[in-house]
């Protein structure tokens, strides 16, 4: 069975593996214990005590806090119940003028803001850019991923979720 040591996975998370090393991981069989190992690495890296149930994003985790499953940023900001779209707790910057879109893209190489705007979702704690939506004006905010945590742990991993 394929296994990777913790250091290799840490280097991969940090983007420090060479292409030759990474290519072998991409094209090889997968390591079945990856989830548990990544969870362990991430838990060691965050500064807060809550247990991570599921990594959700480069900076966001579903964690267990006082018997609730909440979304938390690595800076410590808490977004509330994971069943609700964490974007609705973000600060938002909307680029809906040619001027603000052309700060990012050359003339004619960005959207026409009357057709499509850019929305930047920022963590209210650390102001990390967490997501960018490119949508027509008036489009509802997309709730990208709602995991079925209990089915994942019980049926796919064959164990109880940490809070069960």
């Amino acid at each position: 069975m394929v296994k990777y040591d913790k250091k290799t996975l840490e280097m991969m998370i940090e983007g420090k593996l060479s292409w030759e090393e990474l290519r072998l991981i991409i094209s090889g069989r997968k390591d079945a214990d990856r989830f548990e190992k990544i969870l362990e690495i991430l838990q060691e890296r965050v500064s807060w005590p809550e247990k991570i149930i599921l990594p959700l994003h480069e900076h966001l985790y579903i964690v267990l806090k006082e018997n609730n499953r909440i979304v938390k940023c690595d800076c410590g900001f808490e977004f509330g119940n994971y069943n609700e779209n964490w974007k609705t707790k973000c600060r938002v910057r909307v680029r809906d003028t040619f001027e603000t879109i052309e700060e990012l893209y050359l003339k004619d190489m960005g959207s026409d803001p009357t057709w499509q705007e850019l929305r930047e979702y920022l963590c209210p704690g650390c102001f990390t850019l967490l997501d960018v939506e490119a949508v027509p004006p008036g489009y509802p905010t997309t709730f990208n991923f709602l995991p079925d945590i209990d089915t994942f742990y019980e049926k796919w991993l064959g164990k109880q979720a940490p809070d069960k």
């Binding site: 991969m12 989830f35 994003h57 973000c90 893209y105 003339k107 057709w115 489009y139 796919w156």
Partner: protein, 738 residues
């Protein structure tokens, strides 16, 4: 009518298809197979059997394209082959444009359902041709040759091959026709038509076919290529049966598909997380400004919302509920094409390196809403450019599955998306000088096969090297493209600055090209790409979408004098706001912020620019390693102004060393400054919600946006409910388009 049924055990093949469907519906196993007997009892024989057929398919493709093939097919392998069961389910496939494996499956099933066994008959040596999107194909330009394979008097399978044509005899020259708005504009249609017998293509068919397209020689070469490959597959299957026996073959092909289903579900459970995934993408259509047909003069934004439910058994349920309506333009998309797209992306994201066949198709439920672009249900519309909807829409699938892969820890498998297969410049003309004087040439550059791949969660996206419909994408050689598009010689191809989506890991970058018209007359030119909206589902986890395309043409130029005087001419268009065309050329320079352009006439020494797409980015650009940004500057991927604003990187050009050097202290300060700007220029979600809602209720939306909402609200009760609930709008809310 055939004298006796050609199916197994005296059955008609239609009965076999019905039996297969019934058994699957009853048991959720292919043909009701609940144990893989052969694999369990003798796995070595089983795997050897699969490998021998797989090898035969790959060999057939590699050989066939050298037997006879048009430049597109030969240069970058725009073809693929597959072996199917008698019921039309793929067992094993070659490499190549795999999006078509399932589309040929639909064509075979069409023939079975239409009782081809009775009329026109299915006999050993028969040859069938299909390019009809109403029978599973993507667009008419993809042409399929399908032959039945017999053992004694039983049909034991089908071999199918598909190639992409340079021209299909449509309303204008080209392979993806912008101005096609109805079936009758799409070019020559073959609806699962018998075109030969005794392994020979009928002469009357070949005469008609060659007169139906603008590239008759290439048509004939490709027909021979497909048939050669099919016949090699047929021979390989017969040899297989001689070695393994017919009973083994019959059971083996069904087990191989059932195993394909099991492998897929296992991969889902191994690599994803059960739950609900959503992403959305868009494409612009500018018929109001470009179309010449009155009913096509409509500007639209196509809504491409995708929801995927990954259930506890590893089955995926895909839904495009809420998709915009179909219309009088070329971007309508048939169900077969979408099923093919689902399948081909799954082969790249989840089931690569294992048994790739229709087993994966059986492990996915698809919902394509009738009346939408994703299932118009009207064969009289045009299906010439379904890619414009299909390709960005399926970047949503890549993004959705990437959320699962990320959470599961397989960050190396994450991809934020990919660039649209563009900038499809097309047209054609006639040589009026030189050795080919009088002959037609076609502009169908297939460097569109090399687009930017999106960034992953651990590295930058692949530059100029991805096409969602062909896992073996390739830009090809300019010299090959000039073989058939010699009326528009290249002047330059250079990396386009600021063409990669921004992020901690940037998307793949790409090239821009410049060409001019030479030695020609009667030249038509048009182009297809996104322009007013970003194509695809955007970046991921804070990454930005890749830039859009635009159109740049120069007519009535002084290029002839420039050549004669050996002066500088434009080699690129690095900054549309400070154009090289404007600086170096005299003439009529036309810039359009959108890139879909109906055909125009060009003359000798007219020039044009086009640009391949970059890929979307991943993660917050402020987290990009400064050394990587330095490399980007030195490679010409980004310019100093943009890396300063977006990445917060301050760099100075060292004239002596001729390279960019980062000022690390100034960079730290600049990054802090950007974080402060984010605080100042952002608002709370509640403020955003109020402001955004006002755009709807205060009638601030432009017509194409209103049309998009009206169509989605009318086509889907579920999408309507979500929309009204999100914006707290009354149940009787409607959107009117002026």
């Amino acid at each position: 009518m055939s004298e006796k049924p050609i199916g197994w055990k005296g059955k008609k093949i239609k009965e076999m298809l019905e039996e297969s469907n019934d058994l699957f519906n009853e048991t959720q196993h292919y043909y009701g197979i609940d144990t893989l007997k052969f694999k369990e009892h003798d796995p070595f024989r089983y795997e050897r059997a699969y490998a021998s057929l797989r090898g035969a398919l790959v060999s057939a493709r590699e050989t066939a394209l050298h037997v006879a093939a048009s430049p597109i097919v030969k240069e970058i392998g725009e073809l693929c082959f597959a072996l199917y069961t008698p019921e039309g389910d793929s067992i094993v496939v070659s490499t190549g444009i795999l999006v078509h494996v399932h589309t040929m499956s639909e064509a075979i099933k069409f023939m079975i359902r239409e009782d081809y066994e009775d009329d026109p008959g299915i006999n050993p040596g028969d040859i069938f041709l299909n390019n009809d999107p109403d029978c599973g194909n993507v667009h008419t330009t993809d042409v399929q040759t399908i032959i039945p394979i017999f053992w004694e008097d039983e049909l034991i399978g089908w071999a199918g091959g598909v190639t992409h044509e340079i021209d299909i005899g449509g309303i204008t020259p080209g392979h993806v026709l912008m101005s096609s708005i109805q079936r009758f504009d799409d070019g020559v249609y073959y609806t699962c038509k018998k075109i030969g017998s005794n392994n020979r293509i009928w002469k009357d068919h070949m005469i008609t076919a060659k007169k139906s397209v603008r590239t008759p020689m290439y048509w004939e070469l490709d027909e021979k290529c497909r048939l050669a490959g099919d016949l090699m597959i047929s021979d390989a299957v017969i040899e297989f049966i001689k070695i393994e026996g017919i009973d083994y073959y019959k059971q083996f092909i069904r087990e191989a598909i059932e195993e394909g289903t099991r492998i897929f579900k296992k991969r889902v459970i191994e690599r994803l997380i059960p739950g609900r995934y959503r992403a959305v993408s868009f494409i612009d259509q500018v018929g109001e400004w470009e179309a010449w047909q009155p009913k096509a003069k409509v500007n639209k934004i196509y809504n491409q919302p995708l929801e995927i439910i990954s259930d506890e058994n590893g089955k995926l349920n895909l839904s495009f509920d809420g998709a915009s309506a179909c219309g009088y333009n070329s971007v309508n998309c048939g169900v077969g094409a979408l099923s093919g797209a689902t399948w081909v992306l799954l082969t790249q994201i989840l089931i690569y390196g294992d048994k790739v066949n229709d087993g994966a198709y059986f492990a996915v439920n698809n919902y394509f809403p009738k009346g939408s672009w994703a299932n118009p249900g009207d064969p009289y519309l045009s299906y010439q450019n379904p890619w414009a909807n299909l390709i960005p829409a399926y970047s949503c699938m890549m993004k959705c599955l990437s959320y699962g892969l990320f959470s599961r820890g397989y960050r190396e498998e994450v991809f934020s998306g990919y660039g649209l297969t563009r900038d499809a410049i097309q047209g054609g003309g006639r040589y009026n000088a030189g050795p080919l004087e009088g002959q037609l040439w076609m502009l169908s550059t297939f460097e569109i096969s090399g687009q930017g791949l999106g960034a992953s969660a651990v590295r930058d996206g692949l530059n100029w090297g991805y096409a969602m419909w062909n896992p073996e994408s390739d830009l090809g050689d300019v010299e090959t493209w000039e073989l058939f598009q010699g009326g528009v010689p290249y002047l330059a191809r250079k990396v386009k600055p600021n063409n990669a989506g921004h992020g901690k890991y940037r998307g793949g970058s790409n090239y821009g090209g410049i060409a001019f018209v030479a030695n020609s007359k009667d030249v038509e030119f048009f182009g297809i790409a996104e322009g007013l909206v970003f194509s695809g589902a955007g970046g991921m986890h804070g990454g930005y979408p890749q830039p859009t395309a635009y159109r740049l043409i120069a007519k009535n130029t002084n290029l002839k004098e420039i050549f004669e005087n050996q002066q500088d001419y434009p080699l690129w268009d690095p900054d549309p706001a400070n154009g090289e065309f404007e600086r170096l050329l005299k003439g009529d320079i036309i810039r359009k912020p959108y890139a879909q352009m109906y055909p125009i006439s060009l003359d000798n020494y007219d020039m044009f620019h086009w640009c391949m797409s970059g890929g979307p980015g991943y993660g917050d650009p402020l987290e990009r390693d400064v050394k990587s940004v330095e490399q980007d500057l030195n490679d010409g991927i980004y310019t100093e102004e943009k890396v300063n604003y977006i990445y917060g990187v301050v760099a100075k050009f060292n004239k002596e060393k001729e390279e960019w050097i980062i000022d690390e202290k100034a960079t730290q300060e600049r990054r802090k400054e950007i974080l402060n700007e984010r605080k100042e220029k952002s608002m709370t979600f509640e403020e955003f919600w109020e402001k955004e809602r006002n755009k709807i209720v205060e009638n601030q939306l432009i017509k194409p946006v209103k049309r998009m909402y009206k169509e989605s609200l009318e086509l889907s009760d579920k999408w309507k409910k979500n929309f009204l609930e999100f914006w707290n709008l009354p149940e009787d809310f409607t959107v009117e388009v002026d």
